[in-house]
Structure formats: C-alpha cells, structure tokens
C-alpha cells in the first residue's frame, strides 16, 4: 500500500471519529449544562480541534531506513489530482455554505448579515470537506481494493 493510501485512510479515520464525537458532544453538552441542542451545537465544535491530528498523516511519507518513501510518478499524479479535487470541492462548499447561511439567516431570522461566529464554522466545514474529498479521491484513484496480483 502506498503512503498516499495509508495517509488517506488515516485521515478518513480521524474525520470519521471527529464527526462521531461531535454527534456525541452536542447532546452530552446539552444534557450536562441544561441547554437546548441548538445552543450546544456551537460549543461542541471544539471537538473539531481533533482535525489537527490529520497533520500526522505526513508520518507515512517519512524516510524508511534512510531511504525516502517510495513515491513514483503515478503516486505523485494521484496526490496532485486529489489535492486539486479537494480544493475545488472546498471552494464549492465554501461559496454555497456562505450563500446558504446568508439566505437562511436573511429569510428565516430576518438578519441582513452573517454573524461572525458562522465564519469559523464555515471554515471548519470547508476544511473537513477538503480532507474528505481529497482522501476519497486518493482511495478511488488507486481502486478501492488494491489488486495484488502475484503473477
């Protein structure tokens, strides 16, 4: 398995665990502090700090016994394309998310501007989507089950 695949699987695990913890944190905080689920949703975003662990994925690219990790032209092509896909998905989500947040607040809550607290949440969501899209793109390009034909 290439370093790209290992890093993508690691990233997906961290992202999955973060989302799961968020879903657990919202009702937990609401119950502990006696607030509504909507009120607990924003402070529960603290668990997104775990996304910082995704930086450890670079560990898979470390030199092994003095030799650099084996990354040939196909690995580099897949890495580059996946970053490209991730960035494009990020921008779509960022723009759509910003417009949707504005539209929701404008028509549902009668507000003209987006509250500043929305921006970090949008940034986190965008980063999450970038990581998800990039990792899924990497795994998809290698093929979900890497063939290991012994011939």
């Amino acid at each position: 398995m290439s370093p790209n695949q290992k890093a993508a699987r690691f990233t997906l695990t961290i992202v999955g665990a973060t989302l799961l913890l968020y879903l657990i944190a919202v009702p937990s905080l609401a119950w502990i502090f006696g607030r509504s689920l909507i009120e607990a949703a924003a402070p529960a975003c603290g668990v997104f700090g775990l996304l910082g662990l995704t930086a450890l994925a670079r560990f898979y690219y470390r030199p092994v016994s003095g030799r650099p990790a084996m990354m040939d032209e196909r690995d580099k092509l897949i890495e580059e394309r996946s970053r490209f896909i991730g960035l494009n998905v990020f921008w779509v989500v960022w723009v759509l998310g910003s417009v949707a947040a504005w539209a929701l607040l404008r028509y549902a809550a009668g507000r003209i501007t987006i509250p500043v607290e929305t921006l970090p949440i949008l940034a986190l969501a965008g980063w999450l989507v970038f990581l998800l899209a990039q990792s899924i793109a990497i795994l998809a390009q290698y093929g979900w089950n890497s063939h290991d034909d012994p011939r």
């Binding site: 032209e73 390009q141 034909d149």
Partner: protein, 79 residues
C-alpha cells in the same frame, strides 16, 4: 495551480500494452523485478498491465529498454 496534469489514466481502454507477455518471455520476470528495474512501485506495474494507467514517456522508454524492444512493441494505442 496548473490544473490537472496532462498525464491521464489509460483513456477508456484505448491504450494497451504487452508488458505481461514480455515479462514471461524474459525469464518469467516478476512484477517486483520489473518495478525495481524501471524505478516505480509494483502497484504501478499492476496498473500498467491492467491498462489503468498511461505511463510518462520516460517510464515507457525505461520499460521498453528493460525488455530490449521499441516503445511501440510494448505500448499500443487504438485509433
């Protein structure tokens, strides 16, 4: 960013190759042996043989040189 690179995975099966046959004709060379000789991973050789990846020109030349044949004898493209 320069956008998507020009190298692409084999385009809808238009590119084919005889790497597997050539390996067997050269002393049943393993995929790992070939990978080491041309400087790529075994996964890339597997992808090449399955027509799931179009190699760069330097890689195609290295593969052909390993088997002592011309590039056209290894890789073919359907019109």
């Amino acid at each position: 960013m320069d956008g998507i690179p020009t190298m692409t995975p084999a385009e809808n099966g238009r590119l084919s190759n005889k790497i597997r046959r050539l390996r067997f004709e050269h002393g049943e060379m393993t995929q790992q042996d070939l990978a080491e000789r041309v400087g790529v991973t075994r996964q890339t050789i597997i992808a090449l043989e399955a027509d799931r990846y179009a190699p760069s020109l330097p890689l195609a030349l290295r593969v052909a040189r390993t088997f002592g044949v011309r590039v056209e004898d290894v890789f073919q493209i359907k019109d």
